[in-house]
Amino acid sequence: MELVLTTHFGNERYRFAETYEQLGGYGALRKALSMPKEEIVAEVRKANLRGRGGAGFPAGVKWGFLPKDLSRPRILVINADEGEPGTFKDRLIMTRGPHLLIEGIAITCYALEAHTCYVYIRGEFVREAEIVQEAIDEATAKGYLGKGILGTGFDLEVTVHLGAGAYICGEETSLINSLEGKRGWPRVKPPFPASVGAFGLPTIVNNVETIADIPWIVTHGGEKFASLGVEKDGGTRLICVSGPVKKPGVYELPVGTSLRSIIYEHAGGLRDGKALKAVIPGGSSTPVLRADEIDVGFDIESMQKIGTMAGSGGVIVIPEGTCMVRALSVLMNFYAHESCGQCTPCREGCGWLAKVLHRIENGQGRNGDVELILEVCDNMLGRTICPLADAAVMPAQSFIWKFREEFDGHLREKKCPYGNRF
């Protein structure tokens, strides 16, 4: 099986420039520097590389939104906020193969004629940020970053910027505000970052994994990358499997690999002989699937077809015996805690959902509470500045739609049948 990213992740020294170089690293950058810029962008388009941050927007297309004139400097921002519950892949790239990211940054900035890049790393990742910084320093010393990269006239400065604890800062415009030293409030759009982004300049925000794929695409060509995946969704993806499976972890798999095989073959199936009850496939914000819905390819369109999303590739496995009301309550606490508080529907709605689920879970639910939840969801969905409100609504609705009986049971019996425990 062809791997794009993780081939050498088992090698402890791969995170150092020397080993990375010995294993062919920075060859793609050399090649890219000799290519016309448009050709690099064209290869990325051909690669059908869809953003790995969650929204799945085609990277090459996004790059095309930059204004044509070069009068204003452009900025590349790497989204290393990795906040979506169930997702832990960018951390792996940053610790095991930081030079993949750096090489990707250098190529992308060269192609987009950006001379400034900020890597926005979530604040909790102190150690990860240290490793990335070390790698940046090494790369700068070796001439892959900084002034006149590899003897060309191309300059690039890369700065690590640490977040400080806010899931919402993974949303790209919130991230930009946070980078600018503001409260992490998402911005109203338009204008979009490609025209007015960080510090008022045209800005492209891409996920760590998205950019780490770039060197391979330059080396092997876009078509080759595309062929690894499915139509309109190329390459491999890092799939994160968590929950009580035998081998939780990150798996690099061709886009389109079936969810069943991800859980049962790659992650080894559930532990302790437990049965599967449900799966959240693409991080906590994506609609939940029942155990009988997992025969689906892990790619953006197949997931969409069955009413869920590939998201950021965070597969959360929920075993039989789990109280779905409690599980949802945990998630709603999360969204209430993380809503930036800007939009009325999200601020009030998320807090309200959390409180009502808490009361249902504790046996104090009132008749009609479930209908009220669905109504509040309707009042939140698609009504806000950023998709966080939707991210809260999608699990709420899908949990109720697919596991309604458990909610009604709590109301009927005025207690949690699972004893308020996981």
């Binding site: 800007q342 009325t344 601020r347 009030e348 807090g351 009220l372 109504e375 009042n379 939140m380």
Partner: protein, 526 residues
Amino acid sequence: MPNFTLNGISVDVPEGTTVLQAAKTVGIEIPHYCYHPNLSIAGNCRMCLVEVEKFPKLQIACNTVVTEGMVVKSDTEKVRQAVTGVLELMLINHPVDCPICDQAGECGLQIYYMKYGLHKSRFAFEDKVHKKKVQDIGGQIVLDAERCILCSRCIRFLQEVTGTSELEFFRRGDHSEISIFPGRPLDNQYTGNLADICPVGALTSKDFRFKCRVWFLRGTRSICPGCANGCNVEAHFKEDIVYRLKPRRNDDVNRTWMCDPGRLEYKKANEARLLTPVVRENGGLKAEAWEAALSFAAFRLWETVEAHGAASVAVIASPAFSNEELYLARKLAEEVLRTPNVGFSPRSSGNGLSDDFLIKADKNPNTRGAQLLGISEEKFDDIVRKIEGGEVKALLVFGNELADFPGERTAELLSRVPFVAQVGTNEGAVSLAAHAVLPSASFVERGGTFTNHAGRVQRFWMGFPPRGNARGGIEILVGLANRLGAGWTFAGEASVFRAIARSEAPFAGMSYESLGELGQIAGGKG
């Protein structure tokens, strides 16, 4: 000029207009809280949702720029349901105790939830998120954070207009709370605007708080008399008491703002008023009927001219009076008394406060008007010298003070003049010394025009008739002039302004109609 369709009506708008702005121009009201015409777009309240053809989701009207052929609907069931939903969510954590809220009657929340038939959110919890109770946060403002709907207007105002950023949201999500940093109260001269822009009762005016329920108030369009900027205002009053001034939008002058000292200018209409004509004879003061007071003053002026010649009479006009009054004062001096001694009292500094935004060091509303009407400031010094030299035997003074002179200086100067008549609104050093006090109407009790520092001629309107026995300055001047044989036929400020427009070059071609609500620049450029 893109053309679009709003609720079936075809509308042409200038390039760059948003749906919300466009709706206003055709009288369609789209509910909104966070949008403010003079602040950046925040898009956070989500009240202005509308349907835009080709967009699957509802869009916010405040940030949707009209494009050619766009089809927008703000009156559908889907929109109504969405707005109701937003309101209902907004009420989750909002106290519903309007009867004890000072904002009642002009609260955006109250207005809309009554309009949308909501009284209490079905989602409301008994345990709302509690925040700090009512506190004085400095300037003219008290804050009740629990009533805040987090629209961020106040924050944007303090960032974008004053640049002082004293208020911020602290924490996040439904624990977000508007607050000052402890020990750092509001520190700018524009705090009163916060009470105006806050759509609910979170930021209210300390000065106005609980003084009067707003539904008892009536308003009139006016001009702040506090300085040469001429901020457009609305004066709110009940019967003959003025309760507050609020800015009135004029993007060329004050946008939607005014300064804190200006907000307190209304007090001059209520306090220390001269309300009845008074005559001082043989050392005693006597209230008089107007006829008698005017006749007395006219007689003494005539007598002085007869006895000592016209040059022994002087007129000190005031830049606090309207163009119409100043014009008549000049005319009285030049054509009736035939004295060269007419100047205006340059009360130039007041408290000296000024900035590069609205507040001007010149604390008079009409200095520029006096200048454009050819009344000179230098002449004032000349008249003062003549008073000191004993040459002035009769004096007609407008206003309550002479320049910025201390009271003793004014008293001393005026004691040298055998006859002083005053046309003034408030008690002051001049009224204490005057032999005839002719009480004139406050700025809310008469109409007229002021010319601001930039030469903009702006109208103000009468809210209610002069208090007590006071009279409009025009009426007083016509009364005096005609007793001196002038035969003036002016009736009302409009007729005087027509005369000004005919004879005074800088005002040529102007009329009250052409001035409209927002005024015009004098003399093309003044």
